[in-house]
Structure formats: C-alpha cells, structure tokens
C-alpha cells in the first residue's frame, strides 16, 4: 500500500541513475543510517559492540570485497583469510613505523598494500578460470599465512608469535585496545564501512563495474567488444583486496586486539567470507550485509538455543553449527543462488503489487 513508485517520474538521466531511484527506499536507508549513527552509539554496550555489531560490520566489509571479485567479476577466491591477514599485518607494521600518522590513513595504506598483494596473486587469473583459479588462491592462503607465522619481522619477533594492537587515538578518541569505549570502536568501524559501501556501489554501477560483470557473464564476448580482460580482472583483484585488507586491519585492530595467523586468518576464515556472499547474495552489495548478519548471528542463536535452551554440550552445538552451515549453503545454492538479497528484492516486488497480486 505504501510502497509505490507510480507518480515518481524521472526527468533526468542523473535521477534515473541514482542509487535509490524509489523514494521509499531512500527514506528507509536514510532512516537506518540515522539510527546506526545517532541512536545506536548511545545505547550500545560491550556485548553488542564486540559480539555482534563490530564483527558484523567487519565481515560485511570483507564480504563486500569478496563479492566484488566473485559476485561481480566471477573469479572465485579461497584466499580471503590470507588477504585479511595482509591488511592486519600491514596495519600492525605501519602503526609501529609511523605512530604519529593518523590511523585512518594507515588503514587506508594497509588496504593499498593488500591490493598490491592481491594483484600479484591475481595474475594467474589471466590464464586460468574457475576452480583452477580457486586453487591458485589457495596458494596465496597457505603461503602468506606461513610467511606471517615464520618470519619474525612481521610480528616484531614477539616471543608468542602474536601481534597485539597498540592503543591508538583517532582525533583524541581511543579506538583500539581495551580502554576504547564500545561506542568509539563501533562508530569508527561504521564510518569506514559506510563510506566504503558507498564507493563500492558507485564503482559497480559505472563503467568499471559493467566491465567486471561482462567478464563474469561471458569473458570472450567482453574481450571482443573491447573490454581488456587484464585490466578488468586485475582491477577487480585490486579493489577486492583493498576492501578485504581494510577489513583485515579492522578485524585485527578494532575487533580482536591481538591475533595469531594460524587461528585468526586460516582457511576457515576464507570459507566463512565465501559463505557470507553465497547466503547473502552473489553480486549484491546489500547481500554482503545480510550474509554477514546471518553468519555472525547464527552461532549466537544456536548457542543460546541449544546450550541455553536444551542444555546441549557446547562442543556438540559447535558440530551442529558446522553441519547446519553446510546444509544452509547447499539449500541456498539450490533454492536461491542469489541469496537473501534476492529474497528481499522479491519481497519488495510483492509489496509494490500488494494488495493485488498481479
């Protein structure tokens, strides 16, 4: 009844190309942003920040990054965990070298470092496709994690082999380490992610995004109409890795506080991010957020329900969770390969027609 687009006429291409051409969508998104920026910081507590919102945002960013590569450009990567590690270690080293430089700039540079590493490991994509490429990205996963684990320089030769974030102030407000307030960490993360989401949306709706999708849908035809596969694929690897690198820096700096490569960034991390975009929706910005929410909330719900509700041992609950996750992946691939984002879109289409179904 209220979700209608009739009467909203576009009089310029600019208006037609807006991110949310339908007024109701615009209002809805502005509302969510207002709540996220102006209400949540005042009510947030330690649990909500550390167990739910910050991991959700960070995973959404990693998902966004992988979705650019896999969902938009069609190149499957199983190296996400390692690329997150590159971002984390880059930010760790950079903060050590330049403690005076603004943290935001260092995170940005960490993203650029990851982008460069991503491009190097993306080079094989020019000759190979599909799961051949997936295996190539596994090389990145195992090699990089080994490197961070073995070479002392990366972790400043700390005896535990772990890296621990230094306390960092961002314009006078502590955003990392145990003294940072939940609200500060949350807002810092949210601001970065909101900005990067907007830029991702801009890229995918423009020329570069179209060339990625063209490569994804039919690479030969794309090449014959003048899209350079080299440029398209490597730019996808670069942008994707940039996002994943920033996500890794935040994952380590703001969320975990300290990290050890074999645990924090192992291959399961790569799978989790892949699952986020499958469940959320391949080739959808919204999908990364929905998928991340799903992946973060599922274990919490499972734990509350099974351990709290039925008194199941937490180890068993963990096994059930793995099983359920796998089953859900299969379910989504069978029933709706475009994930939750597509279901949301269908709901909106239904809503437009409501109460008349046709």
């Amino acid at each position: 009844m209220f979700y209608r687009e009739n009467g909203q006429f576009k009089s310029s291409y600019s208006a037609d190309q807006a991110i949310f051409p339908i007024a109701q969508d615009r209002v809805f998104v502005i509302g969510i942003l207002l709540v996220a920026f102006c209400v949540v910081p005042f009510v947030i507590n330690e649990y909500w920040a550390n167990a739910i919102l910050i991991p959700l945002l960070v995973y959404a960013l990693a998902g966004l990054g992988l979705n650019i590569l896999t969902g938009y450009c069609g190149q499957v990567s199983l190296g996400t965990g390692a690329f997150m590690a590159v971002g984390a270690y880059a930010s760790f080293k950079l903060v050590g070298f330049f403690p005076e430089v603004n943290y935001l700039i260092l995170i940005f540079v960490s993203g650029l470092v990851t982008a460069a590493v991503g491009v190097v490991f993306g080079l094989p994509s020019l000759r190979i496709k599909g799961f051949y490429l997936a295996v190539a990205t596994l090389a990145a996963q195992f090699f990089l994690i080994w490197l961070f684990n073995k070479v002392g320089w990366f972790y400043d030769h700390s005896p535990t082999g772990m890296i621990t974030v230094r306390p960092i102030d961002f314009f006078g407000v502590r955003v990392t380490g145990p003294e940072a307030t939940p609200a500060a960490k949350y807002l810092f993360t949210l601001a970065i992610i909101a900005t990067l989401t907007l830029t991702a949306k801009n890229i995918v709706r423009g020329r570069v995004g179209r060339s990625w999708m063209a490569i994804r849908d039919m690479d030969i035809a794309a090449e014959l109409i003048g899209i350079k596969p080299l440029q398209a694929k490597l730019s996808a690897f670069a942008v994707s890795s940039f996002y994943i690198g920033v996500a890794g820096a935040l994952y380590f700096g703001v969320y975990l506080g300290s990290a050890e490569p074999l645990e924090a960034f192992d291959i399961n991390q790569s799978f989790y991010v892949l699952f986020i975009i499958i469940i959320g929706g391949l080739g959808s910005i919204l999908g990364a957020f929905l998928g991340a929410a799903f992946i973060v909330l599922l274990p919490i719900l499972m734990k509350n329900l099974m351990v709290g509700g039925f008194g199941v041992a937490s180890g068993t609950a963990g096994h059930v969770e793995i099983l359920l996750l796998g089953a859900l992946i299969i379910f989504f691939l069978i029933v709706e390969p475009h994930g939750l984002a597509r279901l949301w879109q269908i709901t909106k289409e239904k809503l437009r027609l409501w109460p008349f179904p046709h």
């Binding site: 190539a136 596994l138 073995k150 014959l224 299969i330 691939l333």
Partner: protein
Amino acid sequence: MAFDLFLLEVVISGLMTGVMYALVALGFVLIFKASGVFNFAQGVLALFAALALYDFLAEDGWFFAVFGFTLPVWLAIPATALIMILLAWVIERAVLRFLVKQEEIILFMATIGLAFVLEGLGDLLFGSDVKPLDIGIPQGASDWLLDNFNLYVEKLEIVAAATAAVLVTALAIFFQKTRVGRALRAVADDHQAALSVGISLDKIWVIVWSVSGIVALVAGIMWGSKSGVQFSLSLIALKALPVLILGGFTSVPGAIVGGLIIGVGEKVAEVYVGPLVGGAIENWFAYVLALGFLLFRPQGLFGERIIERV
C-alpha cells in the same frame, strides 16, 4: 654414498605420500570426468569413511553400543563400502539432482557446503578426538630392505602403494570392460548424447559417487592407519587440488603421476630447502608448484587443450 641413500629414502617416503595424494585425487577425477563436478568434499569423504570403519571395529562405537559386538576387519570394510554407497545415493537425492543444470562454480561451492555437512555429521556421530585405526597392516620398517639395502622404508607405505596399484588396475578394468564403465565414459564425453541413448544420468551419478566413495575409503584406511583418524585427514583433500592441476582434471594417469610428483617434490623441498627458510614449507610447496604450472601449462600434464569458440 650415505648422502645418496638418504636422498633415496626421502624420495621413497615422498613417493608413498604421493600415493596417498594420488588416491584422493583419483576420487576427484572420477567424479569430475563423469559429472563435471569438482568435488571439494572428497577429502572429507575419506575422513567420513575412516570414521565409519573405525566405528564398526571399535568397542566405543555406535555399532558396538547397538549390537553388542564389533565386526571383524574383512566384514567391516565391505560394510563401510555399503555406507559409502548409501551416502552417494543420499547426496544424489538431496543435492546433485537439484543442481544438474547449474554452472560448474555453483556446484563447486555446493560441494564445499557438503564438506561442512559431512564434517559436522562425522564429528557429531563419532566425536572429534583422534582415533587409532588398526586393520592389521604391519607397522614398522621393512626388515628385508633394511638388511639388504640399508634402506628405511615403512611396511605400511609398501602396502599402500600395492593397494593403490591394485585399485587403479581394478578401476581401469571396470572402465574398459564393463557395461557400466562404458556408460560412465560415454557420459563423460557428452551428457546429452549419453542421455539420448538411454543412459540414466542420476544412476550414473550415484555409481560414480559410490566408486569415489570406495576410493575415498581406501585412502581413508591408508591415511588413518598411518596417522590416526582425525580431522586433518580432510586437509589431504586440499593437497589433492594441486595434484589435479599438475595432472589435469580429467586424467587418471595424471592424478597418479601428479600425486607422486607433489609427494616427492614437497618431501625433497622440505628436507633440503626447508631448513633454510624456517621449515614447514610442505604446507604451501604443492600449491606454489601448481601455481607455477598453471602459468606455463594450464591444462596440466595430461589434460586436453581446449579450443575456445564463440
């Protein structure tokens, strides 16, 4: 001289590891050839098979809890094979038939999901602790080789190599001489054509997944006897991926040769290069080798070159 002997031992040990990789890779190739599915769950299948076998043999398993006795080895192995066939049937019914028309990459991701399901199920049913698997394969070094050639080679590894040889021969006969084998090859060549001469695809898929399941069982037995049945078993699956890239996704000889190359390569590299860079390069050596290979010969050693058309 002593140095050469040491190298020989390293190479032999690598060959034996390679045989294990080859066994997992073989399961991959079978499924990929017949259905175009890149089965990421192959390693977890091996783990699952080993867990099921252990359950029939051990007194802390479900089978003992329900029936009050354990099975002898000669009965437990066919029983596990039956379980694998059943599993293949369930997978076909519950997963594959709904994804027949999907793109390869969707199927690939579905098998990652399948790997998680099997892993969770295995843990849930059998527990996640390390289980010793003893089906009577002799342990320790071969005395004969030690006495006569001063070579240290594990008996288990010799058995594994022999078993693999028998298995490959059996598979070759199965594919060349039997009606079902010919049907499988027909499907591998052309799905549509096979369907049009009356070969039923879902039956073929069950068969090929069953055969792969049994190959996985053999791999699971060998690996489980060597280092116990545990989750890390499923990680061999990941090692089988570079093997496939080396050998080509559709080539049985490729899987074997690729497995041996990777096995020997990573052992030799670990022993001679590892100490220089801090060790544990076994973890990534295979992938980097495969990566190098991809850049120069993307279709693998034995794969077919693809001519692209528009």
